[in-house]
Symmetry: C4
Subunit: 484 residues, 4 copies
C-alpha cells in the first residue's frame, strides 16, 4: 500500500500526526510525547515531508528503535514521489547554501592545511551556519571555552638538551589499548551535520594511525554503522549518556558491548541542557540573512515564546539527572565488564571519589566549555591534581580534553600526568572540511607536532614526559593570533 | 480662578516665580531655595510651562509634599490650554526622539532576548540619550563599574558531579521574606525616565515570581503608588536616604511603614554627589547633535560656569552627611521596628562594625560604581569577609550588588556567603525596553540560568552553595564580548 | 649705531657669527661653544634673524646673563626693520599653524572641561606639533610614562562609612608652607612653547588657591619675571639643575634666594639627556607634513648624521654629572639655608640615604617617564617605602609625581604617606589651552575630586588619610578610556 | 669542453641529473641523496639553470666542498651563455620584486633611523617576502618569540642617584676577548637572502666597535670569506651545528680553527627542524599574490603532499640528534682547544650540568623562539638561575639572546648576571636595509642607549650592574607600540 500526499496531509495534528521521511510514511502520533527534541519540532512537519530536517541529525536506526512496525505505514505513491522530487529540484537555495557552494569552488588544497586552525578556518566556510553554530557554540559568554585554551598558554617547557632523540616514539596505551599518539577522539554528537558520511569519516580516518575514537551516544550514524566501518584491529570507545530508565540504559550498553566497543565513558557533566546562545540564535541569524533586513512586526513587541534549548538541549532531555557515586557506579559495574571511565570530572575532590569508586579512568573535562560556564579549565584541574594528589595517577588513568589544538598542548598535559588527551571539535571540523582524508590530515599534523615537541624537549618516549618538564608561569602570554 | 499665559509669564524671577505643570499654576518662589536640584533649573522655566522637564523625574506627590495649598494657584485658562496643546502638537521632534521612534519600528520581539545583555542593548536604543546616560553612568572613568563586573570573572566553579539534581530549588528567604530566587531589585532612582509607567513596571513584573523590590527614596512614582501596585503577598523593601533633618527623615519612615514596606536599607555610600561625567555631559551631547556641528562661540573661550552635578547630584543634596555608628543606628532603631540593613559597606572593618551595631543585614555595594571611584568590587569585599571573618555571616545577612548580569554571578556570590544578590540597572533597562513583561523576562532568564548553574554544579538547594565550590584564580579571564 | 641686514649677513660662520633677535644684533661668536643647545642650531641662523627660533625657549634675561655688553651690538637699521617686518607679514603659514588656527575657532568653552583629560585634549590641538611633542614625549617606548599611570589603577580604596564628612578640609602644609590641597606644580620647562605668557600663567592661576609652584631651572621666563607675578603671600619653590661649575651653580642659588623662592628641589634623575623619540622626530613629522610626501633623495640612503638630542637634551648638557651624597648635599647645605628636597629618588635605598643626609624632603619621581625608561613607577616606590621603611616618613617629607590626573590619584598617594603630590604636564596643558584661567580650572577640578573622594571614604581631614584605607590589588584594572 | 643547453636538458632525472650554476655545469646525480635540502628541490631544476635558486642560500665553497672534481663538468657553450643572458634579461619582475624596487625609491635616510624597530621597519620593506618570512618566522604560533620580548618588560630598574657617571665605560670581555659593549652578534643563517654582500656586511660593520660576531654554520658565505673580511684585531666566534658523522664534524672544526675563529658555540636546541609556519607558507603567499586570486583547482581538494620544512628545516637534517653530556662534550674537548660554549640551554638544571661538564660558557637561548614553542624566555631562565644557583655565574660565563631590542634590555640581562647579550635578527635586518653602515648604525644606537641607561642608573662600569638594581614586577606592562 502506498500513500498520496493528500492523504498524508490530513494527519497534521496531535491527534493524528504523520510525517514523510525518505518517501516513506510514519505515524508518529504516539511518539510525539517521547521525542527528545519535543513535539513542536515534529508538528511543524505534521502531514508533510520531514526528510530535510530529520536526516542530518538522526542515525539510520532511529525509526526502527523508536517506532513499532505498525507505525511504519509504508511508501508514498508514485505521484507523491514525482511531486517530492520536483519540490526538491525546484527548491531555491538559501543565501547560506549559496555561500557554501561558492566557497567550495575555492576550497584550499589539503596540503595548504598546516595546523588545526587552518582546518577550522575551512570548516567554518564549508559548514552550514546552523552546523557551525552547533559545533562551535559553548555556554553563556563562552568564557570557559576560551579559558580552556588560555590555560595551556600558562604552562611553559623547561626543555632539556643533550639527550638522544633520533629515535622518538610517541605511542602509548589507553586502558590497555594501543594508540600511536597520546590522543583520542573525544565523543561529540551529530557529525552528519558537517558531512554526509558523518562519524564514519572519523572512524576510517583514524584507522591507519590506531587513534581511538570515542563514539557519542548522540552520533548521527547508528553505533552499528560506525562499528562496521572500523578496521579489524581498530578500537572504539563509547560515550555513554545514561537514560533515566535503567532498563533503557542497559539496552544501550548491551548493544555497544555486542558491537565490540571497548570502554564506557559515562558522561556526568551534562545532566541538564546548558545555555548555548550561538546555537539558540542560529535560526534567527539565518532568517534575518534570508530576508535581508531586521524589521520585526511584533505588535506590542512583547510576545514571549520559549526560544527552546537549541540542538544540544534536545539530545539529553531523557538522561538521568540523579546519578550518584553510591548508586550509579555499582549498577554500571554490575551490568558490564567493560572498563568504566567518568567523563566530566571538574575538581580534585571528585577525582578522589572516582578513585574510591574504583573506576578505570577519569576524563577531566568541562564538555569543551559547553556545559557549566566558569568551570575550571581541565588543564588547571589536572595541575591541581598533580600537585595535591599525585598518588591518584597510580590508581586510575587520567585524561583531559577541551581546546587542545597543538602538539605542545598534548605534551603539556601528558607531562602533568594525563595518560592521553581528547580532541572533539577538531575531528568534526576535519571531517566536515575534507571527509576522511581531513581526519587523517589532522592526525598527521598532530603527530609531527608531538614528535617535534618531544625531541626539542630532549624526550624520546612518552613516559619520560614528567611534571618537572613544565612550569606554570605567573603571567598570561599573548593570545594566539588568528593568522600570522 | 484660572490664569492666562500672559499673567503667568510676569512671574519669571526670584522675586516671584510661577511655573505651569500639567496646566496648573504653582507659585514656587519660596521653594526655590529648598529645591534639591537647585533654583537655577526652576528659574529656567519661570513664568512658563515646565511639564516636560518636571514630569519624568518627580513622583506624583512631589507638589503636594513640597508646596503648601496656597502655593497651588489653580488651572490655566482655556486660551492657555489651547495654546499649550498647540505648542505640544507643533513641537518639532529632536534627532534623539526621532532615533528612538525609528528604533521602535524594528524593536526585536521579546523572545529574541535571551540574556541580560540583549535586554540592555534594546534599552540603550529605546531610551532617550539623557535617560540612558543617567542610568548607565558611573563615577569618573567608570573603572569601579567595570571592575565590579570583572571581579566575577576571577571566580571559577569547582563543580561536583554524581549528585541528584532533578529536583532543584533556588528559593530562599531574605530577612525572613520568601523569594523564588536569591536575587532582589536593588533600589535605583527615576524609572519614569525610561518608561511612563516607571517603578510600577518592576513591581508588577516581580509579582509572579515573588522577587522582592527595594524601592528607592528617589523613585519617580510616589511610595504609595508603588505600594498600591503590589500583589497581596508581595514584599517591598525601602532604600532610605536619610534627610539631614531627623524630623523630615522620620516622616519618610512613618510613611513607608504605613504603606507596608518591610525593611529599611539605609544608604551610606552616597552622602555627597559623585562625579558622573556621562550624565554631566549628556545635555551637551544632545545640543551638539541637534545643531549638527561643534563650533563654539565663546568669545575668549574662557567663560567658566559650573556644569552642575548632573541628575544624580541633585537628588541627595539634603541628605545627612554626618551619620555615625554611635548616633544614627540607635536613632533609627529607636524610631522603627523594621529590619535595618546598611547599604554601601565597602570593607571588612565596617562589616564588623555593622555586626556590632546589631543591624539585620549589610549590602556590600559601591553603588554600582556610581559613587566612590576605585572602591573595591563588592565581590572582592565579600571574598575577604568570607576568608577573614566568616563568623560575620552568622550574625547578620550579607548581600551584594553591582554588575550582576548572569546566573553564574548570582551563584558565585551565594557560594561566598551572600544571602541574596541585588540587581539595579538590569531592572531599569528591562522596564524601559518592554515594560512589565520585560521585567518578567529577565527574571525568567535569571531563573533558568541560576537553576542550570546549580544543577551543573551538583547542587539542588541554595544552602548547598558553599565557599568550597568556588575558587579565586590568579589570572584575569577574557572579557565578555558584546555579542558572540 | 645700527646695522644693515647686508652687514649682518657677512657674519655667518664660526669665525664671526652674528644673529638678530628682536631687531637687535648680537655677536655670538665666542658663545657658540658655550651654548647648551650646541653651536649648530645657532649657526643655522648665523648672519640672519633668529627671533622665531629663540623666543619661545629662552627667558628674557638669557642674553644679559650669557653675553657681555660688548657682544650686544645694537639695533638693526630702519631698512632692516622694514624688511624684517615685511618678511614676518608675508610668511606663509605652515600646515601645522593652519591646523591650530582652525581649531581655535571651535575651541570648547571652558565650562565643558570637566576633567584633566579634557584639558589635555584641548591642549593637544592648541599646541604646535613641536611643542606638543616636547611636552608629552617620554623616554624610549614611553613605557615608564604609561606605567606611572597604570600603577595608580592597582590601588583600590577600602572606604569607611558612617563618619561625619559635612566639613571636609583638604588643606595641608608642604615644608611648612600652606596649600589648600595636597598638590603642587612640579617643575617643567618651557611654558612659553605653549602660550606666550608662559610660566606666569601658572603663577597667577595658582595664587587664589595657594597652590605652590615649583619653578624649573629651564623656565622660559626669567626667575625674576615669575617671582614678580606672584601674589604677596604666594609660595614658590625652585627646581634646581646644578651646573657642573659650583660657582655658576651658586650664582643661580643666590639669585633665587634673593627673589624669595622658598625651597630648592635638587634634581638628580636627569644628569644626562635621555632618548625622547617623539621629540627627536617632531621636526621630521613637520617636514613630511609640509611637503606632503615621504620621498627621500638620500643618494645611497646611507648618509648618517646625528639627529641630536631634541629640545630636552640641550637644556642640561652643562649640568653636574658627578654629584654624590658625600659631596653635593653638604656643599648645598653650606651655601643656603633654604629647605633642600631631592627630586628624582627612584628606590627605597636612596630614600634611606636621603634621610641619612638629613635633607628636608624627597620627591619620588622618574621625571614623568622622561629620563630612565623602566624606572619603577613612583607610586610603587612609595608603596615599598611605606611597607619596608615606614619610619622614613617621620624623618623627612615624601612627595611623588608622575601621571597624576585624578583626585583619586592624589588621595591614594597621600594615604600611602605622601605629604603632597606634584603635577607637571597638566599645568603646561592647562596654560597652553586657556592661559591663567585654564590653570585655575584644573585646580578647581582637582579640588572637587579630592574633596569628593575624601568624603566618600569617610575622611574629613588630610591626616586621616592612612595606609589602611588603600589596598594594592593583584590584578590590573581596565585602562582608562580616552572618552566615555 | 663546453655544453649546450640541449645536452644538459637531457640529464633531467634521478638517473642522471645535471644543473647549471653560474654558467657552469654540474653532475649532481650522486649528490641528490646527500643534499640537506632534499632531492626534490634539485630535481625541480634538473637539466636546467639553477642559479637563481642556488645563489642566495649557498656559500661560495659549497660546490667545492660537496662535489668531487669529476662532477664539475665545465662551462656551458657560447650559445648557452647568450641564451641564459637573454632569459635573465627578459625575466618579468614579480609583484614582490616590484614592491621592493618601489620602496627603494623612498627608503628613509639612515639618520632617520633612531632605534632598532625603525631599522626592522625598513628591512621588512627592503627584503623579498621570502627572505623576510625566513628571518622573522618562529615556531608554531610564535608565542615564544613574543614572550621573549615581553619578559624584558617585567623587569624594572631600581635606579640609584647621586653617583658619579660623567665617565661611563660599557666595555667588557667575552671569553677574554674585548668588546666595546656587552653585546655580540648571535649566529644566524643566510645573510645573503637580505643583501648580496651577506655576512660580510656584519663583519665589516662590527670592526670599528670591536663587537664580536658569531658566524653561523649555515652562513651564506664561506667561513673563509667572512674571516678574510675581518680587521686584524677583530674576534670571530663560530656557531657550530655538529654533523652526525664525527669525522665530518671534525673537518668543520679544523677549518674554522685554521681560519682563526676564537670559540665554538655548540648549538643544542635545534637537533630537529621545527615548525615555522610563516616560512612554510611564504611560497604560497607569493604564488597567490602573483596570480591575484585565491582559486584552487584541486579536483577533490584532497590531494595531500608534504609542504616540506621550509628553509630552516633543510639546513640541519644531517645534524647529530643524539648528542649527550657524557659523549659529546668530552669528544669536543678532546679535538679542540678553543673555548666551548653550549648554545640553547633552556632551564636551570641544564645550566648545572653544563658547569659540571666544565664548558666555558652557556648561552641561555630558545633560538629566538624558532625551535621549541613555549620554551621559557631566556631572561626568565637567567632570573631563575640568579635566584636559585647564583654560584653558577662563578663557574662559567652566561649569555642570553632572544628579542633584545633596546639598551635597557641589555642592561637588565647584565644586571641579572649575563656576561653579554646576543642579537641575531637585528643584525640581519640592519645589513639587509643598509648594508655595512646599517650594522654600524644599530651598534651606535645600542651604544647610546646602553650608556644612557647605565648613567641614569648611577652606574659607570659594567661590573657595577648587579641584581639588586632590577626588580621583577608582578604585572605585565603595556606592549611596546609599533610607532609612537
Amino acid at each position: 500500500m502506498s500513500w498520496s500526499l493528500q492523504e498524508v496531509s490530513k494527519h497534521n495534528n496531535t491527534k493524528s500526526c504523520w510525517v514523510i521521511i525518505n518517501k516513506k510514511v510514519y505515524d508518529v502520533t504516539d511518539f510525539l510525547q517521547e521525542h527528545p527534541g519535543g513535539s513542536s519540532i515534529i508538528l511543524k512537519y505534521a502531514g508533510r515531508d520531514a526528510t530535510g530536517a530529520y536526516e542530518p541529525i538522526h542515525p539510520s536506526d532511529a525509526l526502527e528503535k523508536n517506532l513499532s512496525p505498525s507505525q511504519h505505514l509504508g511508501p508514498v505513491d508514485n505521484d507523491a514521489v514525482d511531486s517530492l522530487d520536483k519540490a526538491e529540484a525546484s527548491k531555491k537555495k538559501t543565501k547560506d547554501e549559496l555561500r557554501v557552494e561558492e566557497f567550495m569552488k575555492k576550497r584550499p588544497p589539503l596540503n595548504r592545511i598546516i595546523n588545526l586552525a587552518d582546518m577550522e578556518d575551512v570548516a567554518k566556510q564549508v559548514l552550514s551556519y546552523r552546523a557551525w553554530a552547533y559545533y562551535c557554540s559553548a555556554s553563556d559568554d563562552e568564557i570557559s571555552l576560551q579559558e580552556n585554551a588560555r590555560a595551556f598558554q600558562r604552562f611553559f617547557f623547561r626543555a632539556r638538551v643533550m639527550r638522544p632523540v633520533s629515535k622518538c616514539d610517541p605511542s602509548t596505551k589507553i586502558l590497555g589499548f594501543e594508540t600511536s599518539l597520546p590522543i583520542f577522539v573525544s565523543g561529540s554528537a551529530l557529525a552528519k551535520l558537517g558531512h554526509p558520511l558523518g562519524e564514519v569519516n572519523i572512524t576510517k580516518g583514524c584507522a591507519p594511525s590506531k587513534i581511538i575514537q570515542m563514539v557519542s551516544s548522540n552520533a548521527s550514524l547508528s553505533y552499528a554503522e560506525i562499528a562496521a566501518a572500523r578496521s579489524p584491529s581498530q578500537t572504539l570507545f563509547f560515550q555513554f549518556y545514561k537514560h533515566k530508565n535503567d532498563a533503557i540504559a542497559l539496552n544501550r550498553i548491551r548493544e555497544i558491548e555486542q558491537l565490540g566497543y571497548k570502554a564506557i565513558f559515562l558522561t556526568v557533566d551534562a545532566v541538564v541542557p546548558s545555555n548555548r546562545e550561538r546555537d539558540v540564535r542560529s535560526p534567527w541569524v539565518l532568517d534575518d540573512q534570508e530576508t535581508g533586513i531586521k524589521v520585526y512586526n511584533d505588535g506590542e513587541g512583547t510576545a514571549d515564546t520559549d526560544p527552546g534549548l537549541g540542538v544540544a538541549g534536545a539530545l539529553i532531555v531523557n538522561d538521568d539527572r540523579d546519578m550518584t557515586w553510591e548508586k550509579t557506579i555499582p549498577w554500571l559495574r554490575s551490568v558490564t565488564k567493560l572498563p568504566i571511565v567518568i567523563k566530566g570530572i571538574q575538581c580534585v575532590e571528585d577525582a578522589i571519589l572516582a578513585a574510591e569508586a574504583k573506576v578505570d579512568g577519569i576524563l577531566l573535562s568541562n564538555h569543551g566549555g559547553r556545559q557549566l560556564e566558569y568551570s575550571l579549565p581541565p588543564l588547571e584541574v589536572l595541575y591541581r591534581l598533580q600537585i595535591q594528589q599525585p598518588h591518584i595517577f597510580d590508581k586510575l588513568e587520567v585524561y583531559i580534553d577541551g581546546s587542545v589544538r597543538r602538539g605542545t598542548d598534548v605534551v603539556k598535559a601528558v607531562c602533568l600526568g594525563a595518560k592521553a588527551v581528547g580532541l572533539g571539535r577538531p575531528f568534526l571540523y576535519a571531517q566536515s572540511a575534507y571527509g576522511e582524508v581531513g581526519v587523517r590530515k589532522i592526525i598527521s599534523i598532530l603527530e609531527r607536532e608531538i614528535i617535534t615537541t618531544m625531541r626539542l624537549m630532549g624526550v624520546a618516549k612518552i613516559d619520560e614526559l614528567t611534571p618537572d618538564l613544565v612550569e606554570r608561569v605567573d603571567w598570561q602570554p599573548v593570545a594566539r593570533s588568528a593568522k600570522l
